[in-house]
Subunit: 154 residues, 2 copies
Amino acid sequence: MTVERDGLGMQADNNTADVYELGEQVGFILRKANQRHLAIFAARISDLTPPQFAALAKLHEVGATSQNQLGQLVAMDAATIKGVIDRLKARDLVALEPHGSDRRRLVVSLSDKGRETIEALLPDALEVSEETLAPLTQRETATFLRLLAKLAEG
Amino acid sequence: MTVERDGLGMQADNNTADVYELGEQVGFILRKANQRHLAIFAARISDLTPPQFAALAKLHEVGATSQNQLGQLVAMDAATIKGVIDRLKARDLVALEPHGSDRRRLVVSLSDKGRETIEALLPDALEVSEETLAPLTQRETATFLRLLAKLAEG
DNA sequence: TTAAATTCATTTGTACACGAATGATACGCT
DNA sequence: AGCGTATCATTCGTGTACAAATGAATTTAA
């Protein structure tokens, strides 16, 4: 006695919304996918967390910026990016200076050590992405990334 | 002077891996998609966090279980599920009892209030899923969920 | 040019998330 | 029976994540 799904005998007005099953909801699966990714990341890049890596990588991409701006670039709010920067600063991976003209701002830049660190890790980061996407074929990967981006942007 | 991508003049051995761009990595987009989902969730279900909701929903699905087992069902480790349960318990949404035969275990069950709460919220939760997936067509949604599940399972 | 609105950084408080360690209990095996 | 291993719950420490409040500085607009 199984529950019929996608059966012809019962037409669903919309999607699969018949009963609520946690395991079928986007949010739940999204969270699990994220967990798997974080595990892969941690296995390959053990001395930096994903947010820390993201901050360094972005800094490497765009050069010195203010703290909040960097936060926007890596999708972290002001409180979150501050914590991340503080920990990077404590390890001398980034440097902080007051902004020239705007005295509210704090300019974050890569230290030499930070530059070396991030440059050395970029190949590993690519492998993290590859391993995360390994369950999908190349074709599926392309589709998935396109749809995921659409979802993320809203 | 733009960097050529997918160009014919330069054959890439694998995917798009030419330079590392944070904004193109799965992990980063996954995190952003998750952020968007969380915002949608919070807007519709303001008095329960997603993990709290997940725990209640699962409890509603499977009935009373031990704390750790519930954690496995909702993909949270022992330390995390404990915190979630504690907060639900503090609001009398769940009840805790010692297990009959196994004195290590703590059986978690929905309180009446918890049952009412979760049952009242299920329609909202479906809308959260729908709104999250709104940027995709039905066809894209089906594809996306299939690939996402593949990714999450590994 | 002041007053109002905005931006930047910071702090506080709450809530995950997970590795690692711990003590109590249960189980497998000899 | 007894010992080693595994499981369950708990605790500790670190690191996001975000809402909300704050003060200082800048920008906008009247």
